[in-house]
Assembly symmetry: C2
Homo-oligomer: 355 residues x 2
């Protein structure tokens, strides 16, 4: 059995404590400075206030200030922060890491490197680490459909772990797998991370249909929704994810497997990303939508902003043509350029749906 | 402008009258013998009782007995019957068809030929036609996500028309396209029909999760559903659809485009196929589920039965391996062999998710 330290006590980081504890590992749950109240409740009541569940026996809560003790003796460290915390965690963990540590992140997103190219978050994290350790610590990530509250409820969950090092990803999978937490492995970390990030962008795209329905006055006298439109956006979303996988030379079947179509499905069930897309579909500007959703981290908007910056460069390099990615372009127009929503359905699926 | 005759006045056949009428075609809506009451109401009140909408101006209702007049002068004939009516429509239309007719079907399903191989329904229909006309009439089909009530409500809808004859499918698309009915075209009729049929099977698969949730007592004290499980089934469904497309040499991107992932999404929104899967997930036998859903045509069960017959032959020919299609196999076990539901999640996605 291993010592596993989870850094970040939000929904998803904390939820991984359940399979780990069930496997008999020593699990240490470290809050960030934003999680102080969560950790206090975990310490005092053995109750996680966000997940609304009792902590499994064996999970030890730590405040941010106690991180050095929490890392002591750990084999595996899980980064449970969101995309805005990636640099912080790199800087915080950096001095504490040893070459043999396995580091696995749940963060979803993409960033840009100095030259404006897309960069996966595990590589952003890596670059924050001290040089002497940077290329020795093995970095992995988790992709695939997982609502944290269901994992903590020990509901059947299927995910994919990715790491460029085959032995490391197999070790991690073995440490986490339970009869309810099913883990596939891949060395295609890039493809996995693209799917994990892009599915948040495309969930906003699917949700536009829900907002357009509200804008039109809701269901009509005969009860018609706008599911056909949402479904077209769903198919286009998977199609565009597949194009990105081709561009980066990644595993194309991710588009229609667990990391792509599967993860998109679960993200479309509900939550903040769906609320964002619904507001935009209804006709709200991104500024209005941000005001309404104040206080929530909008990973969907963040990735669309990054893609807005990356797109001109992908076009200049001939990797994306002017007719490609019509759904992403519509999202960028609204979220980055503040333009009114315009969904050009005829441009979907290669542009053959002309009237 | 053309004369277009729709045969079958159920939901989907009738709904195509809206874009056709909006395009200024003369539209004749012919009921089958089962649709007599629908046609009577259409004639007397200009109101479609199933779709709960007034008929568009220019749509002319005909009883089954009036089919000869209804076909007179038509350029396009749309078959609006379900899979159990394909042979009937072939026999009924056969004597009335001329070589220049364009015939387009909305029926979803697959059948078996005399040697036990899978056969798409347009080919089943073709084989019911008189020999002198069989290879002259051009047969097409419609695939992709389309809830009939939304199409009749002129909601944005994206579909794919398939026909082996490029000119015919382009002519059909031109006749049907409106600013709300977006039509893509393909000559890969086989791939399109596989998706249209299989998505009904796999919707049963996704819905198992809804039933398993009910069986477990519903959401737990912290509100956890089983969306993670449904999402895993969704990804596996798309993965298995892609395998079938590979097997028949069809267009693989259908799996993650409009005919596959897109159509699966809309079918999973609700309806009889979801109800069937939910009942099976809950632990009902197929016999019990059929009794509860008495009177409804269960296209999902029908295609799973066909696949149950086709599978041994696909295996014998080396096209399907013993570890392939675990979701379809689970559905066949329950629906064809009356076995208790057993979802082997670890066998999904190539079987790497071992515990």
């Amino acid at each position: 059995m291993a010592i596993v330290t989870i850094v970040g006590a939000g929904f998803m980081g904390s939820a991984t404590a359940w399979p780990l504890a069930d496997n008999g590992h020593t699990v240490r749950l470290v809050g960030t400075h934003l999680d102080a109240e969560i950790i206090t409740q975990c310490k005092e009541r053995r109750f996680h206030p966000k997940l609304q569940r009792e902590l499994p026996p064996g999970v030890q809560p730590y405040h941010a200030e106690e991180i050095t003790q929490a890392i002591e003796g750990a084999e595996i460290i899980l980064s449970g922060v969101n995309s805005s915390g990636v640099r912080w965690i790199g800087q915080t963990l950096g001095p504490l890491l040893r070459p043999e540590h396995l580091l696995i992140a749940i963060t979803k997103g993409l960033d840009l490197d100095a030259s404006g190219d897309l960069k996966i978050l595990p590589d952003v994290l890596r670059d924050e680490l001290p040089e002497n350790i940077r290329n020795q610590v093995r970095l992995a990530a988790i992709g695939g459909p997982c609502i944290a509250g269901e994992l903590a409820g020990r509901r059947q969950t299927c995910v994919t772990f990715g790491c460029r090092d085959q032995a490391a990803v197999e070790r991690l999978a073995t440490a986490f797998r339970t009869p309810y937490y099913h883990v596939w492995t891949t060395t295609d970390l890039v493809g996995l991370e693209y799917c994990a990030a892009l599915k948040n962008a495309y969930t906003v795209g699917v949700a536009l249909a829900f907002g357009l329905l509200e804008k039109s006055g809701g269901t009509d006298t005969a009860g018609a929704h706008m599911h056909n439109l949402a479904a077209a956006c769903y198919g286009q979303a998977c199609t565009e994810m597949e194009q990105f996988l081709r561009i980066v030379g990644a595993t194309r079947y991710f588009a229609f497997g667990l990391p792509g179509a599967g993860d998109l499905y679960v993200t479309c069930v509900g939550g903040r990303t769906i609320r964002l897309g619904t507001l935009l579909g209804k006709g709200h500007s991104i500024a209005e939508a941000r005001a309404i959703l104040a206080g929530l981290t909008l990973e969907g908007a963040a990735i669309i902003e990054i893609m807005g910056q990356a797109l001109p460069r992908l076009e200049a390099r001939g990797l994306v043509g002017p007719g490609d990615l019509p759904l992403l372009r519509a999202l960028i127009a609204v979220i980055v350029h503040g333009q009114p929503l315009q969904l050009r359905l005829d441009a979907f699926f290669g542009g053959g749906g002309r009237v």
